[in-house]
C-alpha cells in the first residue's frame, strides 16, 4: 500500500495524479483505464482541497492511499474538512455549492462513470472519505 500526505493546495493535485498513475501502471491497465483512474483521483483530491478545506489553506492535508487486491485497484481520498451536508444531493449531476467559482457540479458524475465503484463517507464538521475502486479485469 502507498500512503501519501498532500498539502491542500491546488498546485498539488498534479502530483496526486502522477502518483496514482504510476501506481496503477504496474498492473498494465489500458490507456483508457489509466486515464479514467487518474481523472477520478483528480476529481476527489480537488474536491477535498476546494470544498473540504475551502480552497488554498496551507497547513491542511489530504491523504491519498493506493492499494491493490489482485487487479482491483483502490484509491482512498481522505480530508478532515467541512464534510458533506447531503451526500445524495452532492452526487446529483450539476449540483455544486460553488457555482461562482465556475464549478459545473460534475465531479461525482465523472467519478461514477469512470470507476467500478465509488463510496462516499462524510460527516459534517469532521471530513470526507472517498473510496474509488477500479476493476481492471483480465490483462490485455
Amino acid at each position: 500500500m502507498i500512503k501519501l500526505e498532500i498539502e491542500a493546495l491546488p498546485e498539488n493535485v498534479a502530483m496526486a495524479r502522477v502518483v496514482a498513475s504510476s501506481f496503477i501502471t504496474k498492473f498494465d491497465p489500458t490507456v483508457e483505464q489509466l486515464t479514467e483512474f487518474k481523472t477520478a483521483v483528480s476529481e476527489a483530491v480537488t474536491n477535498a482541497i476546494i470544498h473540504g478545506y475551502s480552497d488554498k489553506r496551507s497547513g491542511e492535508f489530504v491523504t491519498l492511499t493506493l492499494s491493490a487486491k489482485g487487479r482491483e485497484i483502490t484509491a482512498k481520498i481522505i480530508d478532515n474538512g467541512v464534510g458533506i451536508e447531503d451526500v445524495e444531493a452532492a452526487k446529483e449531476p450539476l449540483f455544486t455549492t460553488k457555482p461562482e467559482m465556475e464549478r459545473s457540479g460534475l465531479g461525482f458524475t465523472v467519478m461514477e462513470s469512470f470507476m467500478s465503484k465509488v463510496e462516499i463517507n462524510s460527516k459534517k464538521g469532521e471530513g470526507t472519505t472517498i473510496t474509488l475502486v477500479k476493476e481492471l479485469g483480465e490483462q490485455q
Partner: protein, 115 residues
Amino acid sequence: MNIKINGKILIAAPTGEIDHHAAERFRAQIDSAFEKSSCRHIILDMKDVTFMDSSGIGMIIGRYKKAESGGGKLTLSNMSEAVTKLFNISGLAKIISRAENTQEAIIKLGGNIND
C-alpha cells in the same frame, strides 16, 4: 497557452493539463485577451491538452457563457478521445459546437481561413 486572433474570432490553445489550478490561469488569460480584443467568438483549440477533469468542463462552460453574453459563439476543436468522453458525460455535447480541426471551426463561425 497560445492565443491568436482571426477577424472576430479569438483562438485560444491551452497547453498541458487542465485541472482546477491550470483552469484558473487559462480562464484569466482567455478573458483578458477577449476583453482587450474586438472578438465576438471563441475557438478553444484542444490539440495540446494532455489531461482534463471537471474543472476543465467548468472553464469551457464559463467561456461559452462569456461569448454568448456578447452575442458570439464558442466552438471546440481538435478534441482527443479522452476529452470527448468527458464532454459526452457532462452533457456539453448538446450545447457546445465542435469541429474536427481549427480551420473547420473558423469556417463554422463565419471566419476566413486565409486570415
